[in-house]
């Protein structure tokens, strides 16, 4: 049985920017282990003749023509922003890639 450790959950929480308490980490580790087991059971049930699927709906090639449609105005675009300046979204400087 694949073990989902508390450290694994803490790592995922950090990547997902989710603040989790010690208690939540413990509980989630147990729950995720059950989910992983369930997925494993499905994998075992599906034979080699069952192709992997990335989408539940048997559809493909749903496209749009390359035609310009409605856009938001600058005011509309910024209306939900916590802060803005100079027609643009204003965010705290975050040190990352330039």
């Amino acid at each position: 049985m694949p073990e989902i450790t508390r450290e694994d959950v803490a790592h995922l929480a950090r990547l997902a920017h989710i603040d989790m308490s010690a208690e939540e980490l413990d509980r989630m580790a147990g729950e995720l282990a059950v989910i992983v087991d369930s997925v494993k059971a499905v994998s075992e049930a599906a034979g080699d003749d069952v192709p992997a699927t990335s989408h539940p709906i048997p559809l493909s090639n749903v496209y749009r023509d390359d035609v310009i449609g409605e856009t938001l105005s600058n005011d509309e675009a910024l209306s939900g922003a916590p802060d803005n300046a100079d027609g643009r979204f204003k965010v705290p400087a975050i040190l990352d890639e330039e």
């Binding site: 990547l15 989408h55 310009i68 856009t71």
Partner: protein
Amino acid sequence: MTAETAEILSFEEAMEKFDPVLGFEVHVELNTRTKMFSSAPNAFGDTPNTNVTPVDLGLPGVLPVINRVAVESSIKIGLALNCKIAERCHFARKNYFYPDTPKNFQTSQYDEPIAYDGSIDIELADGTVFTIEIERAHMEEDAGKLTHMGGSTGRIQGAEFSLVDYNRAGVPLVEIVTKPIVGAGERAPELAKAYVAAIREIVKNLGVSDARMERGNVRCDANVSLKPKGQEKFGTRTETKNVNSLRAVEHAVRYEIQRHAAVLDAGGTITQETRHWHEDTRSTTAGRPKSDADDYRYFPEPDLVPVVTDDAWIEKLRSELPEPPAARRKRLQADWGYSDAEFRDVVNAGVMDSIEETVAAGVKPATARKWWMGEISRRAKVADLEPAELGVTPALIVELQGLIDSGKINDKLSREVLDGVLAGEGTPTEVVAQRGLEVVSDDGALLEAIDGALAAQPDVADKIRGGKLQAVGAIVGGVMKATRGQADAGRVRQLILERLGVEG
């Protein structure tokens, strides 16, 4: 910004001790009318945050829809790079937190790129050909544009806040990834530049991208690692991000080779990290080390259904591909009968297309080359423009050359006519008439000038009479001066010899 001055080894010494291994990720912005997953305009330079829809802002409840033309452009790029096209592929979410991506993920492709396993031949200036293997070309979307404010230099260091424009968010991108490139040796920097130039040329020729590097339509991340001579195992690589001019690609690869060599030669180890290229100092500084943040937790995009291709679709797109640039060059050089050196000069001067149009208009290839490489290039240089931007049309050259061929004007006068045309004085024929530039074809007027020149230089006249025919040039010069250049030099020479009773 803190100055970091790294030790570097001379390029020659680096090459004696190490073999470079290169790898490139080139991002190409497609020039579709709309974005990858929304119907917002894909346009450069518009008012910030106006080319946006709720999809581009990642607002709750929105659903993306794939742009068919973007998929077709991506397949064309794959075909031009001799790739296999996936029969079936899907999009994936690349999860990361940064304000350039309001959704907190970039819609990209991960395990199933649209195109894979290709190769292209890259020809260096001296004709050496390297084959570069293409690992994959996948579809994704561009991010928004951040401007860091408050810092003294506009860079992120010291910035107090950032402003975000999402006009670019969602613009279709194709990322082309090479396999590791080994064996380039000392040609590595040159090959790097030639590779990016070739990609730019291919996507421009396909018509799928504007391919303007200064606008970020083609952006290059350059991976460099070194291995000691004779060693098989690759060294640790660094990835220099956003090297966005051809010259910078060459310099950045060269610099990283020299920097790695100095570190390794001193017994140190290379840290796997991104590097930032600085054009002003022509050096790189450390960016972000590889870390947890590189775990992007990719998973299949649930809001988009798979892209499935069939032979009919692919063959239709293949039939729409233009002649590849390299094949076209080969054909034109053969058609025009230019030497390798002549043709290379034409390509480097950026006048190949202009010559092609001029030849198509009926001008001889050698004559077309003379115009574009000579007078037109010279004027373009003075005006600080590309030759093709000067406004010289093939029809203009046809008319100008016609005036020369019919003896109405000579080469020297033709330059003045060209000046007049470019100054907006009218067609060549009109300029000739208005400026009174027609050659003096009246023998009487020419003989008068000849007699004057002979009288002015009696010693030269004697030499010619004595059989020294090369002295005629001095008299011709005198006549040209007297007629302000408006004489047919050949006719003048003939008349001088007749006048002096000497056999030509």
